[in-house]
């Protein structure tokens, strides 16, 4: 608590002969291993660390103490929807009936788990205004990939596979959108945003032709703005035979208040680890279910759960047009389970309160903070709001980066910065609905104090953070001479000269 020393690595803590586990001795007849594994080459050394249980626990306790988290405070990372992770979800996930259930358990012996999957397929389809849902993808980007594969399969099935080779993505899109399109074998073209931060319809028109397989839109978009021309966009894209993909990362703005399926989207993914409160775990696991309109159902991957006439749940055999499968299992079950518990807590009566309060909080921040920091597109926003430190950068040489670092000294996790790429010195703030007004007010005060410092003592910002376990890092050297493991004598040569 009081010491800010570094924590040694596991390997540095290791001492020969220590043990942290008491495993059984064999209760089956002995036989030389070399006989049992006749053809095997055995390894000589197993270079794993050796520690006692207290050492393991203290090590990881110390590491945890060097990490910010939602449970420690406000975490307004835009686009990431860092909302509170309810504890009841974690209790559900600890039950051995789920945690210790093998995926190949015969469905009749796993009806509880099957029911979770079945219900979630329907719940998500309904929330999205869609007709069916695959729970297989392991994260948002994985969902994008599946969604694009479905689009491709659709076009192929309709004889347009060869022509339709382009996916449009707005210039403000998240990096996974173009990356997923590329992964799916598509070329990409970027649609410009107009001055009000939405898709520039004229530019879109200029890009539309028979080669367009579809468009990926985040709605609300990554500027926190609703694509208010969505009906027209849908008409235009559908007009050239393209399909509309909704990156559902921002569904927190819409849940129960608007549905992508009702706006003309044909396929979408959810990020359960954003919208539906499942923990981010320091970078995963996530879950990225994909919901589709009827026309795309035939192409869905394996792992769909159906209900038989007698009320039992079974896995459907994928049809002949199924794209196959994008993962070994039927999805991130333990994540889906948490999202299920979360959705059941709100239920149909209250679920729209999520979006209502997320949008309320974002606009409140926009109004209060907007007095001191420029809002990139100053109008009613949805669940997040993008600020720009361009003015501060020009006037005092203070960058969004510096403001972000200084926020840590004030006890906050910084917002997302430099995204979306089209906003200079962007600070993308997403408070989520689980933050209280007092937290937002305190954050505004901290930001105000920092902006005063930016004017009066900008060196405080460029030196920040000063109160954290480590200070600013030398990231350039890290990338130039990568050391990716302990006692690294490895390097890629290329940059060692």
């Amino acid at each position: 608590m009081s010491k800010q020393l570094g924590e040694p690595l596991l390997f540095e803590l290791s001492r020969p002969g220590r043990k942290a586990v008491e495993l059984p001795v064999s209760d089956v007849p002995d036989a030389p291993l070399a006989d049992l594994l006749a053809a095997a080459d055995f390894r000589d050394d197993l270079p794993l660390p050796e520690l006692a249980e207290p050492d393991v626990i203290r090590h990881y306790t110390h590491l945890s103490q060097r990490n910010y988290s939602i449970d420690s405070g406000f975490y307004p990372l835009g686009s990431c929807t860092m909302k509170y992770n309810p504890k009841i979800n974690e209790e559900a996930a600890r039950l051995p009936g789920f945690a210790r259930l093998h995926p190949a358990t015969p469905p009749r012996l796993a009806q509880g788990a099957m029911r979770v999957l079945y219900d979630m397929q329907h719940i998500l389809a309904e929330i999205g205004g869609m007709d069916a849902c695959s729970l297989q993808p392991a994260a948002g980007a994985h969902g994008e990939l599946l969604g694009l594969m479905l689009i491709k399969a659709y076009h192929e099935d309709h004889g347009n596979g060869a022509i339709k080779d382009t996916i449009l993505t707005p210039d403000a899109a998240h990096g996974t959108n173009p990356a997923s399109a590329a992964r799916c074998g598509y070329r990409t073209a970027a649609v410009k945003s107009h001055s009000r931060g939405r898709v520039d319809i004229d530019h879109l028109r200029s890009l539309l032709n028979e080669r367009v397989a579809g468009i990926m839109l985040t709605n609300p978009n990554t500027l926190g703005l609703f694509e208010d021309n969505i009906d027209q966009i849908a008409e235009l894209v559908h007009g050239v035979g393209g399909l509309l993909y909704c990156d559902g990362a921002n569904m927190n703005a819409l849940v129960g208040r608007a549905r992508p399926g009702d706006m003309g989207f044909d396929v979408m993914h959810f990020n359960l680890h954003k919208t539906f409160s499942t923990p981010h775990g320091g970078g995963g696991p996530g879950s990225g279910p994909v919901a589709v309109k009827k026309a795309l159902i035939p192409y869905l991957p394996s792992g769909l759960v159906a209900k038989t006439a007698d009320g039992a749940y079974t896995f459907e055999k994928p049809g002949p047009l199924s794209i196959g499968s994008v993962a070994a299992g039927f999805g991130s079950f333990m994540v889906i389970l948490r999202a299920y518990v979360y959705i059941l807590t709100y239920g149909r009566e209250k679920i729209s309160r999520i979006a209502e309060n997320a949008v309320l909080n974002a606009n409140y921040l926009r109004m209060r903070l907007g007095k001191d920091l420029d809002v990139a597109y100053n109008e009613l926003c949805m669940h997040e709001c993008i600020f720009t430190a361009k003015r501060q950068q020009k006037a005092y040489g203070v960058k969004a980066y510096d403001i972000a670092k200084r926020l840590m000294d004030y006890g906050y996790h910084p917002p997302t910065i430099y995204f979306p790429l089209i906003v200079h010195e962007a600070l993308m703030i997403e408070p989520t609905e689980t933050e209280s007004r007092e937290t937002l007010d305190a954050f505004v005060e901290a930001m105000q104090a920092i902006l005063t410092e930016a004017r009066e003592t900008p060196e405080l910002l460029s030196a920040a953070p000063v109160t954290t376990p480590v200070r600013r890092l030398d990231e350039a050297t890290a990338a130039r001479h990568p050391c990716l493991r302990w006692s690294c004598d490895v390097s890629d040569g290329a940059n060692d000269a």
Partner: protein
């Protein structure tokens, strides 16, 4: 609402600050016709007590391995998870944090990943490991695409003995990368090396092998590497990480890329998800790695520190030119596996591997002596899993086992079963399993 702090009074005051009259006004930028004003057709809200009971009831409907010994494997295994894993993963500093974009306040996660990368590197004897992939199957597909990129070749050979589920993912992924897949047949439970040799040509980017393979059998990995390298192809291996406590690691015989399923290392079976993709390669391929990596560096005061690095490979920077589209990975399970490996350590992991081997062989030995039962691949060497031929339908046998409170093996076919045995199965459980098989006139 328990998770929403705003009260009616808060809402009113905040709306006033914004200059709006009602919550509905917040959504005014959504065109009227695109708003949803009805009630969704989803379940009704449950209070916490009802919810807790409901969820406990659903959990109770499942035949989990705490209550029922299981002999299922096929890629997901009931290995022992030591209590340290739950204790560490239960720390909210870990599970409620995001990807460590801000290293100054994310050293906990960053160091844990750096240690994970080291542990995986050591286990595989590979130069570099990344911070995780979704699962072993997608990792294999990413590896194949990576190999095609690296070699500029457009075909991969995959053994028939690789998990069918992995092969399915591979097919789905590669179709869109225009990479052709050729299957090298199974011969007596392992890859047919003669066929491999014949098939291998200078258009081949990689050979994909699982070892021990889907049937639990060892592959002739050294020969495979030799043949592949001779043809200029890379070798991608998917090992069982537990087996590497005993077996020669892939790095020791020249494997280029390792893409494995890491669930066995302290992750819950969790009805099959999330899983944990382990991914490692030779250092010369480092800049073509998919996904995140953490590197060591120093802060401005010279303190050791860790940071996500080689970021220009990633989608948020390189967009459509990224090495992969992966963003969120499986950091928390990577942490679980690191805690697992730290807890098991040098001797513990070996004990797990040895016990699994011994018990599996004991079970195989007993089953193969039952009239009507036999090993599918009597000449193969297997690790902790083996295929058997059964005199009756697997489904029928499994029903009989279930009535004794045992979850039987995985159906490879109507009368073929894959049996996995971990260190968690006692000889008493194995004997009960065998006894049910023997008891009946099938």
């Amino acid at each position: 609402m328990a998770y929403i702090a705003n009260t009616d009074a808060d809402q009113k005051a905040m709306l006033a600050e914004i200059g709006l009259a009602s919550i509905d006004d917040l959504f005014s930028q959504i065109p009227e016709q695109d708003r949803f004003s009805g009630q969704l057709d989803i379940p009704a809200s449950l209070d916490q007590i009802a919810l807790q009971k409901y969820i406990a009831r659903l959990a109770g409907l499942n035949a989990d391995s705490e209550k029922f010994p299981t002999f299922l494997g096929a890629g997901v295994y009931d290995h022992y998870v030591p209590p340290t894993v739950g204790a560490v993963l239960g720390r909210s500093e870990f599970y409620t944090s995001y990807t460590p974009y801000q290293p100054e306040i994310s050293q906990g996660v960053l160091q844990s990943i750096y240690e994970f990368q080291t542990l995986i590197g050591e286990l595989f004897a590979m130069d570099v490991a990344n911070a995780s992939m979704y699962d072993g199957a997608t990792g294999l597909a990413e590896a194949a695409i990576m190999a095609a990129d690296l070699t500029g070749r457009k075909r991969v050979l995959v053994f028939e003995t690789v998990s069918p589920a992995y092969q399915a993912v591979l097919r789905t992924y590669l179709r869109h990368s225009a990479i052709e897949i050729v299957v090298v047949p199974n011969r007596d439970g392992a890859g047919d090396l003669g066929a491999l040799e014949e098939l291998l040509g200078d258009g081949d980017a990689a050979v994909l092998v699982q070892h021990p393979n889907f049937f639990g059998n060892l592959e002739a990995v050294r020969d495979i590497v030799r043949l592949a390298h001779a043809a200029g192809a890379l070798v991608i291996e998917s090992p069982d990480p537990i087996s590497l406590a005993l077996l020669d690691p892939p790095g020791a015989y020249g494997v280029d890329i390792v893409a494995a399923e890491g669930q066995s290392l302290g992750c819950p079976m969790g009805f099959g998800g999330p899983l944990l993709g382990l991914f490692a390669c030779k250092s010369e391929f480092m800049r073509r790695l998919p996904g995140r990596v953490v590197g060591e560096t120093k802060d401005i005061e010279g303190k050791r520190a860790f940071v996500m690095t080689l970021r220009t490979r990633e989608q948020d920077i390189r967009r459509e030119k990224a090495t992969s589209n992966i963003c969120t990975n499986v950091a928390l399970y990577a942490l679980a596996s690191a805690v697992y490996l730290a807890t098991m350590g040098k001797t513990g992991l070996r004990e797990v591997a040895e016990l699994s081997t011994r018990k599996a062989h004991y079970a195989a030995d007993r089953i193969s002596k039952i009239p009507g039962f036999s090993l599918t691949y009597p000449n193969a060497t297997f690790f902790k899993e083996f295929a058997i031929e059964t005199p009756a339908l697997v489904d029928e046998i499994n029903k009989a086992l279930w009535s004794e409170g045992i979850v039987g093996g995985y159906a490879l076919g109507e009368k073929r079963m894959l049996v996995a045995v971990t260190e968690q199965r006692t000889s008493e459980e194995i004997d009960r399993f065998v006894d049910v098989m023997r008891r009946t006139d099938w």
